[in-house]
Subunit: 153 residues, 2 copies
DNA sequence: GTGGATTGTGGGTAGGGATGGGGAATTTAA
DNA sequence: TTAAATTCCCCATCCCTACCCACAATCCAC
């Protein structure tokens, strides 16, 4: 499965179009992962984009929980109703729904980041604020999270 | 899996290009390990380069940390967003992002070192300072680390 | 020592990527 | 049936990346 990395600054134009970085598009294999993305409401007020293959895996996981848990069912309703499948146009752009723009507080300048199994879209201002904290605690968090063994250095 | 060793002094040119020593490139097998490198923010303010095969193993380890844990989530964001996949050009060079140059404080002269499963890139000045301390305590550290039969993974 | 091959470094240039805007096709409303 | 609106496609521009070639230094073989 594709592993996404990197940080990119792109712009949303007046038609709500947003170019997905070509290096991100190139690192997914359409035959196995499908084409396009599922745009979902991410945690921490960003948008999270998943490949069709990975979205399927997530859906199945949520579905197991929902069958026995009322809170999970409500979460499931919100999550799926707020999710939209999009395809890239010939220029490699997706169009972002107004409701998603509102949710993540997107302005013209946005940051696109690859985070392992997903692509996140942030408003530039929010990202800069969050990232300042994350980079500060990076080395300490690395030691905390992996102290109990299993450190790939 | 490839084991990297050695110390090399190379230069970053005005286009932010850096030649990977040919003896390092030659000791990895593209068929099994993939081509190019993942440039990651290493601990102790250097850059750590991994082969695609090894980076995949690291990602899977990080993936075990639930993304519902806030600290783990922010760590993942920082690590993967700061990581960039690069390929060597026909001259065996990679291009280093400005962000990575800042992080490791790289100037024109840099030191490239092979450290077992990864390649580290240091600013020459930082390396010389760190190395002075390391070589001084080398024999003592060796005794400490191996006294209890523990293997430094 | 000498010649050739390999390696590291520098610089010009073509092609691809990000972005903006016009226009055709489809939909919705009147 | 026509007008207005939305969506998607295509082209045009700018800029940056990565390729190509060139040269210098080093290493190696003989």
């Amino acid at each position: 499965m594709a592993i996404f990395t990197g940080t990119y600054q792109h712009t949303i134009d007046e038609k709500n179009r947003l170019a997905i970085p070509s290096s991100i598009r190139k690192c997914m294999d359409e035959d196995t992962e499908g084409n396009g993305f599922f745009v979902t409401p991410g945690l921490d007020k960003c948008l999270a984009l998943y490949t069709p293959l990975h979205f399927k895996a997530i859906s199945e996981k949520y579905n197991e929980q929902a069958s026995t848990n009322r809170k999970a069912r409500n979460f499931q309703r919100h999550f799926f109703s707020y999710t939209k499948k999009v395809d890239c146009d010939k220029q490699g752009r997706i169009s972002v729904e107004p409701k998603h723009i509102d949710y993540a507080g997107l302005k013209k300048e946005v940051i696109i980041v690859g985070v392992m199994d997903r692509i996140e879209i942030w408003d530039k201002k929010s990202w800069d604020e969050a990232e300042a904290g994350n980079s500060e605690s990076y080395e300490n968090d690395a030691e905390d999270l992996f102290r109990l063994g299993s450190v790939p250095s």
